[in-house]
Amino acid sequence: MSMQTVKFRIYRYDPDKDAKPYMQDISVEVDPSTERKLLDALVKLKVVDESLSFRRSCREGVCGSDAMNINGKNGLACITDIDTLKQPIEVRPLPGLPVIRDLIVDMTQFFKQYHSIKPYVINDTPAPDRERLQSQEDRKELDGLYECILCACCSTSCPSFWWNPDKFVGPAGLLAAYRFIADTRDTATNERLDNLEDPYRLFRCHTIMNCVDVCPKELNPTKAIGKIKELMLKRVA
C-alpha cells in the first residue's frame, strides 16, 4: 500500500482565539486506493490538527453539508476527487456568508430566503381520500427541480446574492420557487408570482450562470428563473 501526500492551504478562523482569519499550510497522507475524495483527506486532516472544523454527514453527495470553496470553485468535498485538484488544494468556506469557525458558515440568511418562497404545496381544496395525483407528464416538469439538496453552492457563488442576500432570493430559493409554481397540485401560483415580482427578489438575477456552473447535482437554476419570468410575462401580455 503506497501512501500519497496531499497538500492543503486551508482557511482557518476561530473567533474565540484568532484576531483575523489566516491560511494554514498543512499536508496529510492518504491511501489512494480507498481515500479518493477530498472529504476523506479532510477527515484524515483532523488527525493531524483536531481543531479543524467543517460540516459533513452522508459523505455521498446527498445531504449537502460539506459544501465549501475548493480551489476557487464551490463544490461538495465528498464527491470531489482529490486527483482532479491542483495542489496545494486551497479550501475556503462558502463565500458571502458569515463564518462561524473555519469552514463552517452561518446559513441563516440562505434558509431565510428559502423559507420566504413557501417551500411546500399550498392547496386549500378538500383533500381527496388517498392523495393528490399528477399525470406523468405534469410530474416530469418537476424533474431537475426537486433534486436540490440545499447545499448553498449556487447561491454563495452568485454575486447578486453576495451584494443583496437579504433581498435577492438567490438561485437555490428561486429553483425551489419554480418547483412549487410548476407543481400542478399547488393552487397558489399567482401569489407565488406576486411574491417574486420585485426588482430585487427575482430580477437581481443577471443570468451570469455561476449557479449552473457549480451545482453538484447538475441542476439549472437559470433555466428555472427563465421559466418564472416567462410565466410572469404570460400573466401580463
Binding site: N164, K167, E197, D198, Y200, L202, F203
Partner: protein, 115 residues
Amino acid sequence: MVNRHVVGAHYGLRDWLVQRATAVIMLVYAVAVGAFVLFAAKAGYADWQKLFSCTWVRVLSTVTFLALLWHAWVGIRDIWMDYIQPLGLRVTAHVVTILWLVASLVYMIKVVWGV
C-alpha cells in the same frame, strides 16, 4: 423608522421587458446605420447631412435614442442597486442619473433636429 424588511415593488418584470425591447430597437438601428456606412463608403459630409435631414431618419434616431436612455436607466439603476447599500446615497445616485439622462436627451434633440 423601524427597520422592517420590505419587498414587493412590482416593477421587476416591466423593466426586464423594457431592457429587452429597447435592445432590439438599438440593434435594428445599428444594423441600418452600419449598412449605410458599408454601402455608401464614399459618402461625404453632404450625403450624411442629406440622410439626416430626412424626417423619418430623425424620427428613427430619436426613437433609438429614447430606447438607449431607457435601457441605460434600467442598467445603471441596476448597478446602483447592486453596489450602493445606503438608501440616501442610492436615491441620490438615481436622481443624478435621471438628470444626466434627461440632459443628454435635450442635447440629442438639438443635434438631431438642428442639422
